[in-house]
């Protein structure tokens, strides 16, 4: 029954307005990036803040799309993202659920996981282990060593723990074992969490850059961010060349227009994924699951 009082309407109105304002504030810079990417270098030089190209030019995009390496890298990255995310969710959810069943040593294991949130070994020791486990120069070097995010594990575990007990009790009465509880109850009920963390993991894979260079020698295996960041040289501020060197390079960094185009292209595919996941964040996904 849609019984809305005027306070309700006011509430809604203010809410909608604030959200719209926020959206504009967020969108603003993208307008800038978008415009700079679709214009000529001279135009960019002229204007302080370009919000709409007065002269459209697709030079920047042509520059980016011209290479085979670009398309190949996209393929690599799609594979990496899909397979990687599946591996992530598999490892994370199984372990998270297993740690809610009250096994011996459960608390210690959770503590050990927490420990890894605070302490990490660093690049060199991890590299040595990756090498020792034979993963160098394989795409699995980008998947297995990061199979579980410790924070994700902790939070997903907490999500599992907040599922309604009654459902599990009922299933156990019916003779379900832990595996069945996991697969038939916990997972289906956790769609929002799976969607959220699936997205997090996917974005993380999509953004793989450093690990790609570190573990893979052959440029043919590199994911898309490596290709793109060859363009946006400024992406590492600490490594920004001394002014002198940057000016005297034999291949100076591409113009800002290309860098902006690279930024958009780098973001695009993952942006397209999100709307599909949004339905899992709708209210009351667990409708009717618990009755009386």
């Amino acid at each position: 029954m849609n019984h809305r009082t005027w306070t309700d309407r006011l509430f809604d109105g203010v809410n909608y307005a604030l959200l719209a304002l926020l959206a504009v504030v967020m969108l603003f810079p993208f307008l800038y990036i978008f415009s700079v990417s679709f214009t000529t270098f001279e135009q960019y030089l002229q204007s302080d803040l370009l919000l709409w190209p007065t002269r459209w030019a697709t030079d920047a995009y042509e520059f980016i799309f011209r290479s085979d390496s670009f398309m190949r890298a996209i393929g690599v990255t799609v594979y990496l993202t899909v397979v990687g995310t599946i591996v992530n969710l598999l490892f994370t959810t199984t372990m998270a659920f297993g740690l809610t069943r009250g096994i011996y040593g459960q608390r210690i294991v959770v503590l050990l996981v927490l420990f890894t949130v605070l302490f990490s070994a660093g690049m060199i020791p991890t590299y040595l282990v990756v090498k020792a486990t034979g993963l160098l120069n394989s795409i699995w070097a980008l998947i297995l060593p990061s199979a579980i995010g410790s924070v994700s594990l902790i939070i997903i575990r907490q999500f599992f723990m907040s599922l309604p007990q009654e459902l599990f009790e009922a299933a156990i009465m019916d003779g379900a074992n832990d595996l069945q509880l996991f697969g038939r109850l916990a997972l289906p009920l956790s769609k929002p969490a799976l969607a959220a963390f699936g997205l997090f993991y996917a974005v993380s894979h999509w953004n793989t850059y450093f690990a790609g260079i570190l573990y893979l020698n052959d440029p043919k295996q590199w994911p898309i961010q490596v290709i793109l960041r060859q363009i946006v040289v400024q992406s590492d501020p600490t490594n920004a060349l001394g002014a002198a060197e940057q000016l005297m390079l034999d291949n100076p960094p591409p113009p800002m227009t290309v860098q902006m185009a690279a930024i958009l292209v780098a973001m695009l595919p993952i942006l397209l994924v999100y709307p599909f996941l949004q339905k899992h964040f709708a209210k009351g996904v667990m409708l009717g699951a618990v009755k009386g």
């Binding site: 270098f41 001279e42 960019y44 030089l45 002229q46 011209r66 290479s67 390496s69 690049m123 060199i124 020791p125 590299y127 040595l128 282990v129 090498k131 020792a132 486990t133 450093f210 260079i213 570190l214 020698n217 052959d218 440029p219 043919k220 590199w222 490596v226 960041r229 060859q230 040289v233 400024q234 992406s235 590492d236 490594n239 920004a240 001394g242 002014a243 002198a244 060197e245 940057q246 000016l247 005297m248 390079l249 034999d250 291949n251 100076p252 113009p255 800002m256």
Partner: protein
Amino acid sequence: MKKKWWTHTACAAALAVLAAGCSNGGNSNNSLPAGKQGADDADKTYTVTGIDFIYGDVPPMDGRGVKMINEKFKIDYKMNFIPQATYTEKLTSVFASGSIPDIVGMSSGDLANNYSKFAKQGAFLALDDYIDDYPTLRKVPSYIWDQLRVNGKVYGIPNYYPKFGFTTIVRQDWLDNLGLKPPTNYEELKQVAIAFTKNDPDRNGKNDTYGIAIGININPALIQGPYWDPAAWYHKDDKGRFIPGIISNARKDIISMFADLYKENAITRDFATMNWADTNKEFYSGKAGIFIGTPRGMSQPYMEGLLQLNPNARFVHLEPFTAPDGSKGMTAGRGFSGITVLSAEVGKDPGKVKRILEMIDYGRTYYPEDRMNEKDPNFDWFMGNLGQGYEIVNGVGVAKKNASTEGLAPITYFPDNTAWPEKDSDINYAKSYTNPTLSKLVQEIGNTYAQIKYYATPNYSVISATELAKGADLNKYIFAEQTKMIAGQRPLSDWDKMVEEWKAKGGEQMIQEINAEIKIKDPKEAWN
């Protein structure tokens, strides 16, 4: 039972890590017993591994250029190019895992750090005995070899880099409009900067121009001679020791000038927050009229952007200023950028070493302009054959646009592909630009550079432990203080106090360490 097998895995993994981290036996593929000294089996194909950094696109590992190299030198060439931004991390990891490639590229920025550290630890092969055997190595002057010496031995081959630096360039059209001459000293420069700010030099009726484009860390500082160069060790303190220019009184004068100009809004007001790209934009968008330039590596897109906005823009460069002590010239750069080293491991196989050096030497060959075409078979091969790897532009062979990205030519794959000329002026930079205004400017700068004298700052061949440990910190501190002085937030009268603070932070130590090693007594000895 389950516990046991994964304990085993863990132990195995742990041992593997320790083993990898501990041993550094290296990856020698073709070790010959020591008795075969000097033998280079001409029929033997060597596997040559390498790692090097690269700016821009990384070529494929199996490009046409690689195949050509393999054929010509009878090697199986496996060079890994790594984007420069992440090179240090990759290099460190590769070293840590115990497998050092045969050829390693390093940047000259690493000279005091990784290069010298690893050389001392025995990671690289000493090259002294080989220098005389290869023409391009013989051409390297001793003052450059000296910079590469660690414990008396040379461990790296320098990649050529001109020893000239930047000079100030000024909008000639603005000078003309205001009836001014190019400045010949800092006082005149100051006046020009103010005039550019106040007198509408582009004659567009708007107050939208100013003098000097400057960015973070007071860069560019418009250095017109080693006398004023913050990085050169030219001046001496009252104890007779060489000191870095950044704490000298000459620098104080420059800072004072900038402070005055700041008050007049004649330098970039936001300079403290402008990065290099932003600073360039100030000049190339026509706002500022004074900036810097140099023959090698000017940005054609920036220049063309400016010319589109101001088709009448003209440029003049400034000759070095005559200093109060009568000196006139420029601080010499190191003369190289980039170092190529060979691993100590590969030294065990003299035949392989010779093959590698042969290849490296080939890549450093200098071709005079009239031989930069298909008539010289070496050039033609090096550039990947006419029509495929390069084309003729203005009578000179120029790489095709996609040649490096697709790896069509051998040149892309050499660890050192910069020609080593007899003298700096042998290379005609003007030809590398297609824009006539830019070419002309570069030509004029080059002419000046060919005639001036260069100051070999004595700290180049000295490594100071304190500089390594605290250099970044010291610079951060002193640039911040001088920035504040320019912006009027710290009085210039505090200069001596600032120098004392800098010294207390480690500057004094650094001065002592460097002076202990400097061989010359007087700056005059270092001019050539």
